[in-house]
Amino acid sequence: MDLRAFLRRTAMSRPAVLVVTLPGATRLRLEVEAELRRREWPVVGAPAAADLLVVCGDPAAQGAWPEWLDDIERSMPEPAARAVMGESARVGGALDAGRGEVTGRAVAPRGDGGRHEDRAAPSGDGHHRPADHAEHMDHAEHMDHHASHMDHQDHSPGGHMDHTGHMDHAGHDMHAMADIAGLPMAERADDRDELRLDRLHVPIGPGLTDWPTGLILRLALQGDVVQGVEVDHLPVPPAHRPPFWDEPWLRAARGEEVTRGGAARRRCAAHLDSAGRLLAVVGWDDVAAPFRRLRDELLAGASRTEVAGEVHRTVRRVGRSRVLRWSIAGLGRLPADTARAAGVSGPALAATGDAYDRLLMWLGEIERGLEVLDDTRPLAPDDRTGPRGRLDGPRPPSQALLDVLPDLLTGVEFACARIVVASLDPDLDELALAPVTGAAHA
């Protein structure tokens, strides 16, 4: 019995997981989150902390192979592995396979020595991925990788399927532009007080946790103050199924039979998901976690009597917290007329206020939705108000939420920016929606 191998295998019996979701894979993400919770595997928020990268959705559907995924994997410490969740119902098996790969590598490290040294330093050697470095001072985070690669589509998309053979990047040497270790220095620009300060371009997303799936924000930061925002997102492939959170309303619009209870259930789950994200971003895991558990129980078909008690208890706990109110009130104020002008509908419009008001609006809708959970009457076919707003408008509701982001984010601090985004929680799956809504009338 090799004690070291045994210890290594035991250590990785519950690998730390970084979950990255691609647009259109909300259902898979929920399945994976529920399964990880059941297995009690630690879920982490950065590649450095992760052993296993779990990708929800089909990377090949992204058009070009998403190289930022390779970059995330390369910036994970050994032993690192990736598990792609392509299909629902196979989540458990794929996670097991991923863990098998991690334990295998832990017991027999690749090349022992030189090789894993190389991998542990994803961008440590100058020639490894200079293409990234030319643009960003900090290439170490997973958030950066995506954006830098979006601009470098000249990489052959298929050539990177084998993510262990990355030495071919050497051809992209751009040391001429570099100042320090292949990285440019920050540029300078006037800040809000017209002082000339360093300005850093930091793209965030799409690999962040508790972040709208597929969203990328290109921030210009001075210190931790956001001076400029460009909203971008991963390509949203046209889906053969309607967006997960809007499904009941769209199906009813097509003439299918959907009960009011079923729609209310989906709306409650959507808001529990959004509120759970916001609460996780503000660092209150003790209520974020039950919200997610209740969301999954609702989606699994739990009856009203099973969940109502705990939902009410948790909602009350959040609503009563003065510290939470004090902490996020005043962030991301969105008055009704601004919201209406941008085409926002749904809770973000009804709340007419800041991040805290939007949270309360979600909580209120959750409690109201619980009341009609067991209503078996059919949903009115002209009811098109999904969790994020009216689905029969000229644009999907989440597009309007994305449109208001730059104004809300400019001038706020980084920490507040995350809270503002989470309090709107746009669902990028809806961006594939536009033609579907039009066709629904036919």
Partner: protein, 314 residues
């Protein structure tokens, strides 16, 4: 009168602190598990959850550390290592019952100085990897330091004032009758808040917050991560433990020997902190700064004034 502990206590101290940290982290893991996954519903399952810190430590030992481009490895490493070192050095003046590893005449100042090392530690750890988010988070801790340090120092001063000595042993001896917490409740509360802030844990975990992908620890992997995050638990244990000699009468108590009282009181304070933490989100320093300077500083000053008047008239 307090006396110095035997030499072997120097070896025992880090081990004892580590054990206390693992137990505290285990308790925290059980409570987190109950919130996230429902109640354990069995002693075995609860036990498995309580073992989470040990399993995590083993996992991080197997994981390889990593480097980032143009990292300041020397300063980054220094920051990581400083966290547990500061905790253990601060723990040197922590009396067990009535004996500490060392009981210098300026013990309270020594304790505060060692805690201040945490400022350097977190900032250096954030600076080291040359990464925007971890640097932002390193600076968050400096803002946090500005917010908590003044009320904290006034709280320490108040206890020292009550004992008319900066020697920790004297502070304990002065509480033979009435514990300081009875007539210095504000200082005690301010101390507990700043203990959490110093250990950048719980509601004060903003420098390591999820919104910045783990903040100052975002780029740490393997043993670096273990030392940094483990050191944080050590800091929490030490700062919480120091409230016992300062305000809760140290080893004084009926029936049981001094060391047992110290242990019991420390466990009670830690349990209180771990449980109370669940009621609060992470505080953004921008907001806490207002509360700290507008409310806590005046309150702790009034508390110090009250104690000073009492001491002058006795």
């Amino acid at each position: 009168m307090p006396e110095n502990a035997p030499v072997w206590a120097i070896v025992v101290l880090p081990v004892a602190l580590a054990v206390a940290a693992v137990v505290t982290a285990g308790f925290d893991a059980v409570l987190s598990g109950a919130a996230g996954r429902g109640h354990a519903g069995g002693i075995r399952r609860a036990g498995r959850r309580a073992a989470t810190p040990v399993r995590e430590a083993l996992r991080l030992l197997v994981q390889q550390p990593r480097r980032t481009t143009a990292a300041d490895r020397l300063l980054g490493r220094l920051g990581v290592v400083l966290v547990p070192v500061a905790a253990v050095l601060a723990g040197a003046v922590l009396p067990w019952g009535f004996r500490a590893v060392s009981d210098p005449s300026v013990g309270v100042v020594w304790f505060n100085a060692m805690e201040a090392l945490a400022w350097a530690a977190v900032w250096l750890a954030g600076w080291g990897p040359n990464s925007a988010l971890s640097l932002i988070s390193g600076y968050r801790f400096l803002a946090q330091g500005l917010a908590y340090e003044l009320p904290h120092m006034f709280a320490l001063t108040t206890a020292a004032l009550g004992a008319e000595s900066l020697r920790v042993g004297d502070v304990v001896a002065a509480q033979e009758g009435v514990w300081f917490v009875v007539w210095m409740p504000v200082a005690f509360a301010a101390y507990l808040l700043s203990a959490l802030a110093m250990a950048f844990w719980g509601p004060f975990a903003h420098p390591l917050a999820r919104d910045a992908a783990g903040g100052a620890a975002a780029e740490l992997a393997g043993v670096d991560r273990l030392v940094f995050l483990g050191g944080r638990w050590l800091l929490l244990v030490v700062t919480a433990g120091f409230s016992v000699p300062l305000f809760l009468g140290g080893g004084h108590g009926p029936l049981l020997p001094g060391w047992a009282w110290t242990l019991l009181k420390t466990a009670a304070v830690l349990a209180l902190l771990v449980i109370l933490r669940r009621a609060l989100p992470v505080l953004r320093m921008e907001r806490y700064m207002e509360a700290a300077w507008m409310v806590l500083v005046p309150l702790t000053l009034l508390q110090a004034l009250f104690v000073a008047v009492v001491v002058l008239n006795r």
